[in-house]
Symmetry: C2
Subunit: 375 residues, 2 copies
Amino acid sequence: MDSPSSSAPRFAPVILAGGSGTRFWPRSRQARAKQVLALDGERTMIQKTIDRLHLLASPKDVWVITNGLLEETIAQQLPEVPRENILSEPAARNTAPACALAAFLLEPKAPDTVIGVFPSDHVISDVERFAEVIRAGIELAASGEKIIVLGVPATRPETGYGYIEQGEVVREGSVPVRRVRRFTEKPNHRLAQEFLAAGNYAWNGGIFLWTARTLANAIREHRPAMAPLLEKIAAAHGTPEFDQVFAQLYPQCENISIDYAVLEPRSAKGEVKSEIYCLPADFCWNDIGCWGSLHEHLTEGTMENKIDATDPVHCTIDAERNYVYAPGKVVALVGVNDLVVVDTGDCLLITARERSQDVGKVVSELKKCGREGLV
Amino acid sequence: MDSPSSSAPRFAPVILAGGSGTRFWPRSRQARAKQVLALDGERTMIQKTIDRLHLLASPKDVWVITNGLLEETIAQQLPEVPRENILSEPAARNTAPACALAAFLLEPKAPDTVIGVFPSDHVISDVERFAEVIRAGIELAASGEKIIVLGVPATRPETGYGYIEQGEVVREGSVPVRRVRRFTEKPNHRLAQEFLAAGNYAWNGGIFLWTARTLANAIREHRPAMAPLLEKIAAAHGTPEFDQVFAQLYPQCENISIDYAVLEPRSAKGEVKSEIYCLPADFCWNDIGCWGSLHEHLTEGTMENKIDATDPVHCTIDAERNYVYAPGKVVALVGVNDLVVVDTGDCLLITARERSQDVGKVVSELKKCGREGLV
């Protein structure tokens, strides 16, 4: 390992906020995606994301990559982030170009800056532990050409996540460090069960740490077509030509996730040379992927009735395990169980809780009916 | 039988419209009861009630007995009915005083007028057959001291209705006439099954026909305390003292249904002397007692999804046999069956269809919580 720098490493969080999140329809819409909604309290998901990072970085060093539909809303929700640090992708290109753009922006002036990539729509309940783990990750990432990933302890054979196979422990301590052997995206159920049984697999929580130089070099090595495009965009940042260059070159970038673009090829090189390490994301992480999992989160797993209706009066008769969002309404449930009900001004969704991951299909149906304005 | 009059009998329909109908909450409220709602079309239940009677009576001869909360709404909905014919009970006293009041109002000037008592919140689909049966009933009622009741063909062992035991046929024809042997209110399930199996029991549909004199005399005979109170109220009608007399005396009347007050004692006198006759209410009658039975009526028994939402676009995925009322909203149902959903501006009800008769309990609960304004 390289010698650590004497001062604390510079840290630049990059928040990925371009997702559309159709599974929270009708609350979420194209221009009001999950990350800008307050699903579990007063602050929105992206506000909570940046709140967690306040312990680790100045808001001036935060970058947000989003899209044109969400840019203004995010700028309003994050007034502490410099406006020029909020970038709208001219076209959705998955996570690799977004992460890499941050690296190419920072590399020329501060190549040793540790970039932390963070999703903008996850829930993390233990914020102090989060800060402790990320601090350890920053330190490790700063000490040479390392890639740090965070592995969420797997608790069920989930087939919707990526899995990280972990190798030997290279450092014990309050934040143990393990080598990464391999990444596997969305396994089938049988394989997911094997991973869970094996014990050394963690879910990929989408949080990565590396220096700007390490990430830029990794892109040059594994995605040689993408690198010069992003270098040109980065060089134009702060100039009058930026918007035009961004709009022209970014759509030419490959549409690929950072996992596929960099992590998988790196890990495929073998255990020792890969220099990819995993830290435990043991801070009560939850990606809140659907209304059902929001209900689970809000009731701390009890799944009792949760009625989010402003008016404190409601009436339940022989009704259990329901989630209702109906601001300003008096809600009455009679003889119904395990439902999700979401009432916005213009739409009303009723779904069985166990079917709430299919809500995205409603959005597809409405688009087919020509009701783009409702999605 | 008495000799029939040479000209057509005068006919005065009395529409009973004092009910509160909590089972259609949240659409129905104290000041917006079922009878003033348009549950199955453009016209309200009471408007449809009077529409049916247009073939049989002039609106000038129609009387409406309601309560103070509904009076103005009803007057607006029935502009063709003279304002002085719409009376608000100063206190709810069930159906006997209301029916009897009409008799005492009409008896002094036109004792041979046939009074027809009609509920204001039932659905009758075959209006022509209704007119044919009522015409036959008017003729029969006019021919002496007879009481005519209408018997709905019983199709299930319903325990929520009153039953009419029918005796011999006294007249064949397109509207056959049978004697009434006995009335039985709300039998238990076993008894209701026996009635259904016996074949000569019909449901009491709450429609009665008799002359003003016959009803007034029946009240004098069976409810001697009530008769002088109602005679005084009737005598004051049209005078400046009416409101005061009505408010003072009406609450002193016994709180009793016309069935218990007159029909049961009469029928108990024996088959021949009772002079109570039953005509078939075979005109597709439905009392639409709860959201579930409205759904059944609206889908003509198929129970397919019925979404009453103004906006024609909605989305159902693996969802069957649901009723949704949500004006102005786009509705999406995913993986839910047999639900009733009613979305008003201020309240949202979700109930299993088979539990919709328990919606009245919600109203009771809200009253207990001090939310009278919502019921």
